[in-house]
Amino acid sequence: MSKKKSRALFIFICISPAILLFTVFMVVPTIEVFRMSLYRWGGLSGSKQFVGFDNFKILWNDTDFIQSFQNSVLLIVLVAIITLFFAVFFAAILTRENIMGNNMFRIVFYIPNILSIVVIAGIFSAVYDPEDGLLNSIFGLLSLDSWEQMWLGNHDIVIYSVAGALVWQAIGYYMVMYMSSMASVPASFYEAASLEGAGKIKQFTAITLPLIWNNIRTTLAFYIISTINLSFLLVKAMTGGGPGGTTEVFLSYMYKQAYGNSTYGYGMAIGVVVFTFSFLLAAIISRITKRDVLEY
């Protein structure tokens, strides 16, 4: 066998299993999402009928979908802003300040990220339980009885309870990410600023923030994508979209329609809208947060 031939054979053997699996179980299903959204396809009978964009027209007037849309957008905004604030704050503290048990804090903050979302749903069901829940009992101990709530039963606040669980889950992950980019900022910058008389807050806004800006921008896209995904997984395990659809989010509604209701075509149309929306949102945000990259 010639050298050239054996090289070609080697390449083929190495990459074809990966390409095959990737194509069959990821590319084809993704194409199917788009294709199926154009069909009226209901039930296991497999009756399929091409209907063009009819599914999308129905979607436009589906109040349940609009509610899930509002809930998702609210969650994305809340979770992104709150997590970003806390993650940057704690990352700055742990990299810049001399903290006792620095390492221990980092280890503990990352723990929620290794837990299954089902376990997190269980934990927060216990925290939010109206009678013997941890949160209400703490308020009870502090004689703040008026703060006690039906965290998962009250239509007006349940979405914020979900946001709380998502933030709790996400802080450590993003903190570790910001820490690694903050650690690469040279210490001499801070020394120089300190000599010039800049305080800690000034140092943070004038040095740390601009220098890790690109990292923050990247994570903004992560917030959008992962909040859409994780809110689905959490809501499905914790509230099931209830009470009364107040915690229904994008993908939980899609899953309900596609898998629960077996209206596959309609479900996939939701998927297409959500995918397009998240992509556009990420692109727009990346555009408006663009700053000149500072070299150091």
Partner: protein, 293 residues
């Protein structure tokens, strides 16, 4: 005068920082520790003060979870699916990442873009199409042989887990292979080693640190995953997280909380133990390829 003022604001700032740090740490440790505590409580202990320590070690909860709620069987399923998926993933992804990052050939650039595009595909979107795909195969198979094969199959689930993890894994491994100098391959070539020999005995052993990170991340991913497992394994053969979902629904309806918390402990204990052993590698490795599902 000015100096003392500076020192006192510094002190104030320091104590504020510690309050914030300890506050967050407590909000994480307490709920997790509480679940462990609750898993040892008898059912009557769940009424009244939730902060009371358990009266004793009520192991019966675990027995009930393991045997009556089938969590023992689900644990075995999860171990098997996770191990198989990791095996499939490494066998498929390692050679592919090596070739894609270090060989230039027809369409190699295109294939690289193709695989990287996969980073944007989220499992939650494609779970139902995968289910329909397997259902279609099963329908055809049933017509031929009268048996189902693809749905409710643990090996199939493992294979699909491995497939969905391919883009991220190949991306991570490739970025490591790219940093290696080509001297190694040239030396191996001069010594008369063929392509396969060079890959197996020279290049793959060098990638060990990256392989460990890949295994860690994907272990957590596979072990904790539930939406695919729920969708394509609707039968009795469940994985742990799906079993836990059922257990949570059943025990809440039956007002029998102990086994539910025991189930949660069973699911999270392996990941916690692993995390304690490798936490440094995990939080450092995250900076290599920061992608989240």
């Amino acid at each position: 005068m000015k100096k003392t003022k500076r020192i006192s604001t510094d002190k104030l700032f320091k104590s504020f920082i510690y309050v914030a740090l300890i506050g967050l740490a407590i909000s994480i440790i307490i709920p997790v520790a509480w679940v462990f505590m609750a898993s040892l409580k008898e059912n009557s202990e769940f009424y009244g003060n939730p902060w009371a320590l358990p009266d004793g070690f009520y192991i019966q909860n675990f027995v009930e979870a393991f045997i009556e709620a089938n969590m023992g069987q689900y644990l075995l399923n999860s171990v098997m699916v996770t191990a198989l998926a990791l095996l499939f993933l490494l066998v498929v992804a390692l050679p592919a990442a090596y070739v894609l990052s270090r060989f230039r050939f027809f369409a190699s650039g295109l294939l690289n873009v193709f695989v990287k595009a996969g980073l944007f595909i989220n499992v939650s979107y494609i779970a139902v199409p995968i289910f329909l795909l397997l259902l279609g195969w099963d329908t055809q198979l049933r017509a031929l042989m009268g048996e189902d094969f693809f749905l409710n199959n643990r090996v199939m689930l493992a294979l699909i887990y491995a497939s969905t993890a391919l883009p991220f894994t190949i991306f991570l491994l490739s970025s490591y292979f790219e940093t290696l100098p080509s001297d190694f391959e040239e030396a191996a070539n001069i010594d008369g080693a063929g392509y396969f020999r060079t890959m197996f005995s020279v290049m793959l052993p060098m990638a060990k640190p990256s392989i460990i990170i890949v295994v860690l991340f994907n272990f957590l991913l596979f072990w904790n995953e539930y939406i695919l497992a729920l969708t394509i394994m609707p039968g009795d053969n469940k994985t742990l997280p799906v079993g836990l979902l059922n257990l949570m629904a059943a025990e809440r309806a039956a007002v029998n909380y102990g086994p539910m918390y025991a189930g949660m402990v069973i699911v999270m204990l392996p990941t916690l133990i692993l995390y304690m052993i490798v936490q440094k590698r995990l939080t450092e490795g995250m900076t290599v390829g920061g992608v989240k599902g």
